[in-house]
Amino acid sequence: MFKFEHPYFLFFLLSAFILVILHLIRKKKIKIVYFSTIYFLKKSHKKISRKLKIKQFLLFLFRLIILVALIFLVSKTFLVKSGDIISSGDSEQSSYIILDNRYTMLRKNGLTTDFEVAKEKIVKFFQNSSNKNYFFFKDELHLITSKEQLDNFLEKIEIQYPPYLGNYHSFSKNISKYPKMSGIFITNIISERVPENIKVHFIEHKKTENAYIMNINIKQIDSHIYQLESDINSEGVAFKTTISLLKDGKKIANKMINITPKEKQRVIFSFKGDSGQYKIQLGNDDLLEDNSMLFSIDKTSPLKIVIINGGMNPIPYLDESFYLVNAIESSPYKHHWDIIVKNEIESDISKNYDLFIFLDSNFSNIDKKELENIVYLKKPIVLSVGNSTNIDEFNDFWSPYLKWRNIKDESTKNSFKYISMISSEHQIVQKIPFIKSELIEYPIFRYLNFTTEQDLTPILSMNDGTPLFVEKTVNDSKWLIFSSTLSRSWGDLPLSTHFAPLIQESILYLFSDKLTKREPYFYSYSEIHKFFPDKILKPDWYQLPNSKVGAYNTQYIYSQFLGRDSKIEKSTENSQFLEGEEKIYLKNWLILLLFLVLFLEHILDFKRYFKN
């Protein structure tokens, strides 16, 4: 039975039909000659009228055949040789078989997969072939002499990552080692030109219900609320399926989606969750392998920040910790920061917290050992001078660690000071926009004068250059120290719009290395593969460069690259793309027929050309 690769050209057969109709009903537009007498013409015509009729009919027939043959030629007509035997080309020539073991071969084919179907075909091929035949396995050709040997090879070949074919480049390089032999590549997806000497035996599916998850993007909305966005692509036919979100194997959300071919579809899940292994999975499609993606939410506990306020005030706006907690809470990282306020240095406090903020030195209870632990375990510290009753108290408490003395308590009542000089080089300040123009508005009434100390890095300074906010390294611990307190009687700094960013950036600065690990974290596929080497979590469709994923309708891809690259077309002309059938292209026969008929037509009409 005839089949056509470009059946739309068959519409031109209508023209042949029209030609027949016209031939039957329409009077030909022929030349009219007024002649002196038709007596002799009639006499001559009578003698050959029968011959003329036959000739006219034959000419018409030949021209019709020419037209039809031309249409068949451009339609790429082929004959289908039914049966399951793959032709090995020249029967005298030995050939080799290459079996595609990419994940696309896991596509369902009845009750089994394309991969299993291909294996059966290979067995039949070797059974029916009397020549020396080889099997291409792991970059080499292996001569198959017995069925046991073949079974052994077929058993070894599994769908795997990466496939033994490697990428396209290495595959074609390996194949090019055998230029004189003909190969048969059994696959269900082709998106690259195969070498000339390789025929492609194509396991074709006309309708493929396939969809695949292109990517996922997860955002944390609240402390335990996450939003997952996923793009679904499809190149098969339209169908309905479900998309599910699973946590540790249990379904936590489910959605029905309509898959539209060639249209990216975005699915959004908002879910309450905590750390653990999550999986987003597409429902039934034509791929045997789960069409899913894994992600994980980190189990690491949040950063623990403790504010130790020596002098708490029950009135919030008079309490320094009130400003600090609000500043920290407004951070986008608040979900990763646990903040707690204490008013004494408890035992074991150094072990339980990652960051210490001291607000007042007027502690009711001090565990000196714990304080030493904090300092010597190199925990970062933010220190506010606090509204200490006197400067001596501050000096006594912090001097052993800060290693400075004689810091004077100064008031600006007589000489008004305000923040003016910003150390623009410091990382904290650089990240806060407009800080230079806006902090200037806030006056400072009281401060401790650190000017005598030399080992400070000023972050913020006042208009006369007196440091306001400094960084000091003590025993490899980072200290950030305010020379003024957050109390309103000392200055208006807590009311500054940049106060909260200043505090947040300060924490990020102190924990810059640790904080990155504390962002919501989702494993990449390669990492998952690394973690779970036994289970392949995502089929890899990308073995051949520029190839579409396996979920694509292969026919679509095929037609796409046929139109794109004439070189590919050339190679595919010699290839076979049939499932269980062999294509016999009639191109040569049609050309032969065309020439034969043209020749006969000329012979018939020879007298006319001769007469001319």
Binding site: K31, T37, L41, K43, S44, H45, K55
Partner: protein
């Protein structure tokens, strides 16, 4: 098609065309009609003997002369060969008979004139020379007969006849009525003779031997060799009948048919002792006229 042919025919200035030919020919062409001009009078015997031809004198036979003219009675008496010399009747009448059927309007693509135009010009030229020799001349077209005109000095009268002619029928074979009355005549018949050959042969056989008949077979080359190569519808100019045929297939058979027709016609004419002149309208008129001398 008819209209265009008729238009061409009507606008043709015959006088001018005839004059053109006259410039390229001489009265000698009349010798081809077995008659003589004044200059050659008496030098050539008439091929026909009968009424109206008067005996002039005897002359001794010289080698090369026609043995038919030997007076055998005189030989019996005198045992010497004498040739009878006749004096030609200077008033020999000429009748021009035209086939004015529609087929005569056929003009091949390579021809300058239709067959009828060609015939008229030829007739005009001959008329001119014959008038110069003071021969009475008459034209007959179908049923129209001009009567013998002997005192006309130029051919304008005859040209007028061409111009007021109605194209309708072929040769009027009943013209004998016009020739029986007044002695021997030379009859010049212009036609394509595209009629049933048996009919023609019959008619030719019945023509009186007394008169000298010249058959001017006017024919176009494309009537012998079909020019068309593709399938063509041929329409008969006379009957309007049609035939669709493939000239590339039939042209050989057709040519054979036409040539056989011509051959039989020619044979019938010659066997009856008449003269056959084949005038191909594709040839120049003066060349055709000059060929009379060789016939």
């Amino acid at each position: 098609m008819y209209i265009s042919i008729l238009l061409v025919w009507y606008i043709l200035d015959y006088s001018k065309e005839i004059e053109k030919v006259l410039k390229k020919t001489s009265p000698q062409i009349l010798m081809g009609l077995s008659c003589q001009t004044d200059d050659f009078f008496g030098k050539q015997p008439s091929k026909k003997i009968g009424q109206g031809i008067e005996f002039n004198h005897y002359s001794p036979y010289t080698e090369g002369e026609n043995v038919k003219n030997i007076d055998w009675k005189a030989f019996g008496r005198l045992e010497k060969l004498f040739i009878k010399k006749f004096e030609r009747d200077s008033n020999e009448r000429f009748l021009f008979l035209f086939d004015t059927s529609k087929s005569m309007l056929f003009k091949g693509s390579d021809s300058l004139y239709s067959k009828l135009e060609y015939s008229f010009i030829v007739a005009g030229v001959l008329t001119y020379y014959l008038l110069q020799s003071q021969h009475p001349i008459a034209y007959q077209f179908s049923n129209y007969f001009t009567g013998y005109q002997s005192d006309r000095k130029d051919f304008s009268f005859f040209v007028e006849q061409f111009e007021k002619l109605n194209i309708n029928s072929s040769i009027n074979w009943e013209f004998q009525e016009n020739i029986h009355r007044k002695g021997r005549k030379t009859v010049l018949i212009f036609s394509d003779f595209f009629e049933d050959i048996n009919f023609l042969v019959e008619k030719i056989k019945k023509l009186p031997e007394l008169h000298s008949f010249h058959f001017f077979h006017t024919i176009d080359n494309s009537e012998i060799d079909l020019k068309e190569s593709d399938i063509t519808k041929y329409v008969d100019m006379e009957s309007g009948e049609e035939i669709v045929t493939d000239p590339s297939e039939i042209y050989k058979i057709y040519k054979e048919e036409v040539e056989t027709h011509i051959k039989i016609l020619k044979k019938a004419i010659l066997n009856s002792g008449f003269y056959y002149h084949k005038f191909i309208t594709n040839n120049k008129i003066e060349e055709s006229l000059m060929s009379l001398l060789n016939s």
